[in-house]
């Protein structure tokens, strides 16, 4: 039996009617229709599905969609301001932090969460925070550099 709920994704409220077992990832991709978040492992190993739930990172493949009813969900589509990329997105492009791009939505969300809780993370902080996000191209060096460059900009702006 499906259950009605409201999923608020990137500031827009979507009324949905979904199965109790449906994951947040399935609901956002297949019901809401935002396909930026990816399904990699589907059991919380790889982080490709990572979203923010009330501002905190969550592996959405392993979170029941109905539990997100009424909470704020942020996906990779919500990071840019219209056509204007977020600083972290620009940094990934500049530092060659995108290869096949499959891990990128989760990486961006994970790094966004890190930079919100720690404005000046060390290289080790970045590597530890992103270690729940696997890059199948193994392009970690560019990704870490990109996150560090945003950190430096944010730290020097304050």
């Amino acid at each position: 039996m499906s259950v009605p709920a409201t999923l608020t994704v990137n500031g827009t409220a979507y009324p949905v009617d979904i199965d109790p077992h449906m994951s947040l990832l399935e609901a956002v991709r297949d019901v809401v229709g935002l396909t930026g978040s990816k399904e990699g492992c589907d059991d919380s190993e790889c982080g490709a599905c990572m979203m923010l739930l009330d501002g905190k990172p969550v592996n959405s493949c392993s979170y029941l969609a109905l539990q997100a009813d009424g909470r704020e969900i942020t996906t990779v589509e919500g990071l840019a301001d219209g056509e204007e990329l977020a600083p972290l997105q620009r940094a990934l492009l500049e530092h060659g932090g995108v290869q096949c791009g499959f891990c990128t939505p989760g990486m961006l969300i994970s790094a966004t969460a890190l930079l919100r809780s720690n404005r000046d993370p060390s290289e080790e902080d970045v590597r530890i925070a992103l270690s729940g996000n696997l890059c199948r191209c193994t392009g970690y060096t560019g990704i870490v550099k990109a996150v560090r460059s945003v950190r430096s900009a944010a730290a020097s702006a304050t």
Binding site: H21, S44, V58, S62, Y63, L64, L66, G132
Partner: protein, 312 residues
């Protein structure tokens, strides 16, 4: 049976749903992941308990700590009192999963899933934690060593919900640590884990509690290791004797993460590092949380950051 889902607004709602056969979900980091991995299908009837206010919060009572079942690992690591007086618990919560796991995974879920490899179990056991279980018909307190009966098995009835965990305040002079053997720093499950809680009194070990993780069907204390340390000066020989007792007292399995022989051998190594760290903290020395990272660096290996630096 048709599937059903309800989000409980009050504890009473949750308890009546459990009484009618529903299963609880909080952060979903065990229940949903387990279903995805094919360990057990998701229950037909689910009650979400993550919005019940009285299940949350860390309270510092005069006689100890009250951890609401919904307290997340992130909250535990950010709590000053836990970092200072229940340091081993912070060591454990700091290395559970990734930051996404720690933001949603709860201490209650950890305790009730009863994994013999859970990081927080050894510290809770050594601090003599008790579970407050409630059902529609009443409430009882159960020490964790009585709650855990086997891998994934607990002595609680399905109609009972863990409301909170109570941890008595350790006596002055107590230091503690939890260290695990790990192949990677995050998204890891303990290959071997050891907890030590020690109390020093005038240069000798007045009390020692030592527990093993991922080395037996349940997380459990090792009496022979505790006896080897208690009354000693906490020096090299006493630590070595306790570490040997930990290794002898383990009964590990072989699986994809390590053979039984390897685990038993490493049990002694990890025990030594854990006991050294707990004693150092009892003496007032600062060892950063998580101890797993700190002791790895101290053991002469490169830290993560150091290894990255050397590669450049």
């Amino acid at each position: 049976m048709t599937r059903s889902f309800a989000s409980a607004a009050t504890l009473e709602d949750a308890l009546s749903a459990l009484g009618a056969g529903a299963r609880p979900v909080a952060g979903g980091t065990d229940l949903v992941v387990g279903a995805r991995q094919g360990k057990a299908p998701l229950p037909d009837s689910i009650v979400a308990i993550d919005r019940i206010p009285e299940l949350g919060g860390i309270a510092d009572n005069n006689d100890g700590l009250r951890l609401g079942a919904l307290v997340t690992h992130e909250e535990i690591v950010a709590n000053e009192l836990i970092l200072k007086r229940f340091t081993a618990l912070a060591d454990a919560s700091a290395i559970v999963g990734s930051h996404a796991t720690r933001a949603h995974g709860t201490i209650g879920g950890n305790v009730m899933n009863a994994s013999p490899a859970m990081d927080t179990g050894g510290p809770l056991l050594c601090f003599a934690a008790t579970a407050r279980l409630r059902s529609a018909s009443g409430e009882r307190m159960l020490p964790l060593e009585e709650l855990w009966t086997g891998p994934g098995k607990i002595a609680a009835d399905p109609a009972e919900l863990l409301v909170s965990i109570h941890v008595p305040a350790p006596a002055p002079g107590t230091g503690s640590a939890y260290v695990r053997l790990e192949y990677r720093r995050q998204m890891e499950i303990a290959i071997v884990g050891v907890t030590a809680v020690v109390r020093l009194d005038g240069g000798s070990v007045a009390e020692a509690r030592i527990a093993i993780t991922a080395l037996a069907p349940t997380i459990r204390r090792v009496a022979a290791a505790e006896a080897a340390l208690t009354g000693s000066d906490g020096g090299k020989d006493a630590i070595a004797a306790a570490a040997r007792a930990v290794s002898a007292g383990s009964s590990p399995i072989s699986d994809v993460r390590g053979s039984a022989d390897y685990r038993a051998a490493m049990a002694g190594v990890i025990a030594r590092r854990t006991i050294e760290t707990a004693l150092a903290r009892a003496r007032g020395e600062h060892v950063s949380v998580p101890a797993s990272a700190a002791t790895w660096a101290g053991a002469g290996a490169a830290t993560w950051a150091g290894a990255g630096g050397a590669a450049r």
